[in-house]
């Protein structure tokens, strides 16, 4: 397998030829079951699981019908992630299992008549190819030249294999493309991150401030539920968003901010709250470090100053600051989750953290609670070898404050560089569609081209699978065990995922793949167990349960051990920062040469004829993951381009018309996107949901539907502190005629 130029391969001849009949058969399959409008449910069994359609991981039950087929998925009533209610994506999770486009067998890239194609392979053949290559890489470049990109539950198992093999280059896009800046900023302020699920005590809050966080479209279940509960209880919602988001429509105050100027607003709020002495004096005095510096720092950042930048009127800034102060400490200035926007995101999130500190909401009811979780020990194994290199060796001292591995830094470490004696040579990619997930696709392609080995483990033929040397089909979450979900919450809670049905086709779970690969690599001593049941049972017994018990109950709440849900009156709090206090003045940022207190930086605004490319979540989809899900495609088959009526008029656009987009770097969207004319978007931006515009033809429902925002994000604004990839500094213009583009492969 000497394939340095890695052409995208269409997965053909993979598995049984279902393409022709597939979708139509499925569409009617449900209706054939009974000629009755009323189902007669005589189900056979219910098995516990937790959802894998997004990373909120709601626990639920799988109900099968009388034919032993999965009928429905419902939330687990005892699970605080979902309280018995799954979100639309979780409810439609059964579509992941039914999807006839799924990967069906392992595939190996081979050369046939001068053409690269995928050949169906057995698992042992596939492992042999991977094992041989990984051994060669270990010998020639060192085992730390392998990297693992993973998102989702199976990562733990594969991570174990990789560490046993000798590499710590294990990364997830959930850091540098997602919540990284928030974790770094909060750790630097409070000594602890926000984590997932967020420790926001929304259900008891009296004032919820959402800065770009579009809960309601962002369907992270527990938060949506608690926001709704808060609405019922009459809490005030303040939403800062240039777009009239769903959350904005539920808000008492909507601040239609000029994009990219949030830090100015935050600084003005801090200014008002300090100068009006609306902050929680006792809390601040007792718990914080650097208040005086902060006070000096914000003196010039008046609401009037911010008005010129943000277009938010000074009166509104003061009024909303007062609203927060009135609710304090039961107020949440929500840190958001996907926060890699403009490259100064750590700074922005620091301002958010500071604001919360001033309002005394950290560790308080209705603010941020102290989460707790149990510690589940690893199944015994020998110590891991020490790698010689990590991603930091290739980062030239950049991104020093990163608290997790920076995915894009690993990509950089893969692109050959003469000044560096160490390069990454092989990737295992599990459950992340890097082509759509990482901005600056050209850079991703460049790295992929330089690889000696690319293994992709996925359930679906996605864009990334087309570039693989070996494709391994994982079974869906409904067909497998996974590691225990051990989430930090108001009380520790664990949850089990077990197979409801046998894996379809020749697909296998990650735990098995990780173990078999371990054996192939001769790492048997790290995998001294018969199967996952043995591991889970051993682990569960360590925390006072057992596999048998969890199979019955699915979710178990455990006693808090460490501290209390909220800070106690008069309690001395020690924070895990350099000063042991909440750092309004961040010493770690200062030490690393970054501004210790947030500063506002001006960002580029669109040129005439161009619009800022804004993107976000659609409630019924999770990125690429669901874009081919039959049930969810039915709800939302494609993304739409939100255009303000003023802009539509200027371009003579009609509702429902298809247009193409071209960005500031002349990147043109492969597919067209349907125009939705709506007042809900500003005239200087356009908006679309992320996750559409698939070029992979094997996705029979998703191919060519809508446009991909990632394609148009070629300008990345890196966060110098932690490597986050700011993606909101891209501008597009509208093409009403089909441009000459490369044919999608």
């Amino acid at each position: 397998m000497k394939t340095n130029r890695r052409n995208f391969i269409k997965i053909s001849g993979a598995g049984i030829g279902t393409a022709a009949i597939g979708s139509s058969v499925f569409s009617w399959a449900n209706g054939d079951l009974l000629n009755s409008a009323i189902p007669t449910p005589t189900f056979t069994s219910k098995t516990p699981t937790y959802c894998e359609v997004c990373f909120w991981k709601c626990a639920g039950w799988v109900t099968k019908d009388e034919n032993g087929e999965i009928w429905k998925l419902e939330g687990h009533k005892d699970d605080p992630h979902c309280n018995g209610r799954l979100c639309p994506r979780g409810t439609a999770g059964v579509g992941m299992y039914h999807d006839e486009d799924r990967l069906k067998t392992p595939l190996i890239r081979v050369e046939q008549n001068g053409k690269q194609v995928f050949k169906k392979a057995s698992w042992s053949e596939a492992f042999k190819v991977i094992g041989d290559k990984m051994k060669t890489i270990a010998k020639e470049y060192g085992p730390d030249s392998m990297a693992l990109f993973t998102h989702g539950s199976g990562g733990k198992f594969l991570g174990h294999t990789l560490k046993a093999y000798g590499s710590y280059n294990i990364t997830a896009p959930s850091f540098a493309q997602c919540r990284g800046p928030r974790e770094v900023a909060f750790i630097s302020t409070f000594g602890e991150g926000v984590y997932s699920p967020e420790r926001t005590d929304i259900r008891d809050t009296r004032c919820l401030v959402l800065i770009g966080s579009h809960i309601g479209e962002n369907m992270h279940n527990g938060q949506v539920q608690e926001m709704s509960e808060a609405i019922d209880k009459g809490a005030t919602i303040i939403t800062v968003d240039p777009r009239f988001s769903t959350a904005a429509s539920k808000s008492k105050f909507w601040l239609p901010i000029k994009p990219s100027t949030d830090i100015a607003l935050l600084l003005a709020w801090i200014h008002v709250i300090i100068n009006e002495e609306w902050y929680d004096k006792e809390y601040v005095e007792k718990n914080t470090f650097g208040f005086d510096q902060l006070k000096d720092h914000v003196q010039t950042f008046t609401p009037e100053w911010a008005y010129g930048i943000t277009t938010i009127e000074p009166k509104v800034i003061r009024e909303t600051a007062k609203e927060m102060a009135n609710a304090s400490p039961a107020v949440i200035v929500h840190p958001g989750r996907h926060v890699t926007w403009y490259g100064d995101d750590t700074q922005r999130l620091r301002a958010v953290a500071i604001l919360n500190a001033l309002l005394g909401s950290w560790g308080r009811r209705g603010g941020f609670y102290n989460p707790d979780k149990v510690s589940i020990p690893d199944f015994p194994h020998p110590p891991y070898p020490n790698p010689k290199h990590t991603w930091k060796d290739a980062a030239d001292g950049k991104f020093d404050l990163a608290t997790e591995v920076v995915s894009n830094a690993l990509v950089d470490a893969t692109i050959p560089n003469e000044n560096r004696d160490w390069n990454i040579k092989g990737w295992i990619v599990n459950g992340t569609n890097l082509i759509h997930t990482l901005p600056d696709q050209e850079r991703t392609f460049k790295a992929i081209e330089a690889l000696d080995l690319l293994v992709v483990i996925d359930t679906m033929p996605m864009e990334i699978t087309g570039y693989a040397d070996v494709v391994l089909p994982e079974c869906t979450y409904l067909e497998r065990y996974d590691s225990i979900r051990n989430s930090p919450h108001r009380e520790p809670v664990i949850s089990l995922r077990m197979p409801a049905v046998k894996p379809k086709y020749d697909s296998k779970p990650d735990w098995w793949i990780a173990q078999q690969l371990g054996f192939e690599l001769g790492l048997d001593e790290y995998f001294q167990y018969k199967d996952i049941e043995e591991v889970l049972d051993w682990q569960l017994k360590k925390v006072g349960s057992s596999l048998a018990e969890m199979q019955k109950i699915g979710v178990k709440k455990l006693k808090r051990e460490y501290d209390d849900l909220y800070f106690l009156e008069g309690q001395e709090n020690l924070f895990n920062t350099n000063t042991g206090k909440i750092e309004l003045y961040a010493t770690d940022l200062a030490n690393a040469g970054f501004p210790p207190m947030p500063v506002y930086t001006e960002h580029a605004q669109p040129q005439p004829g161009f619009y800022r490319l804004n993107y976000g979540r659609a409630p019924a989809h999770t990125f690429s993951r669901t874009s081919n899900n039959p049930n969810l495609v039915d709800i939302m088959p494609e993304n739409e381009l939100w255009v303000n009526p003023k802009v539509a008029k200027q371009w003579a656009l009609k509702n429902g018309q298809y247009v193409w987009l071209k960005n500031q770097d002349e990147k043109v969207s492969t597919f067209s996107i349907k125009v939705r004319i709506t007042e809900r978007i500003r005239w200087d931006s356009v908006y679309m949901a992320h996750g559409f515009g698939h070029t992979q033809k094997k996705l029979s429902r998703a191919f060519g539907k809508g446009a991909s925002d990632t394609e148009l994000i070629s300008n990345v604004m890196y966060d110098p502190a932690m490597g986050g990839t700011g993606m909101r500094g891209n501008f597009v213009t509208i093409l009403t005629e089909k441009p000459e583009t490369v044919e999608a492969s």
């Binding site: 209706g31 409008a37 009239f244 409630p619 039959p630 809900r680």
Partner: protein
Amino acid sequence: MRYAMAIDTKKCVGCSDCVVACQIENKVPVGFCRDWIVETTTGTYPNLETEYRSERCHHCANAPCVRCCPTGASHIEEGGVVLVTPDLCIGCGACIASCPYDARYPHPDGYVDKCTFCIHKVRKGEQPACVEVCPTNCLYFGDLDDPNSDVSKKIKERKYKRLKTEAGTDPQLYFLI
């Protein structure tokens, strides 16, 4: 007994979970739905209002679909639930044309299908699938004749509107505003 549903438009986020849950619970074929979400936006940026409504058959007390049905397939069950009996339905489409809310559709198997208020669940003492699943807890189902039911209480506490009452249908979905 008079079953009805109240929908809190102040909490609904338009996520369509109720639609998916209904499709799955009732084995509605992919491509069809018994409930749907309407989003209404009024105003000009930045003075805007958006309302989300989860809609389905209104189980009209004065149901034109039942009146116009030539075979009696469309009928009213105990509790005012409007149902279709597939084996009586000839698929003439009269009821579809008669419904001011477009709440019915021809099922691929020929008969006409619509929301049943999940009567199969309700009879077992459960809630309809859409009500059970809604993440914002904004759907309330129950008996209007029972003053303690969720729906009676909501209608008493809150302002509400009903849709297209001018069509004379006496609809039984109450949209809390």
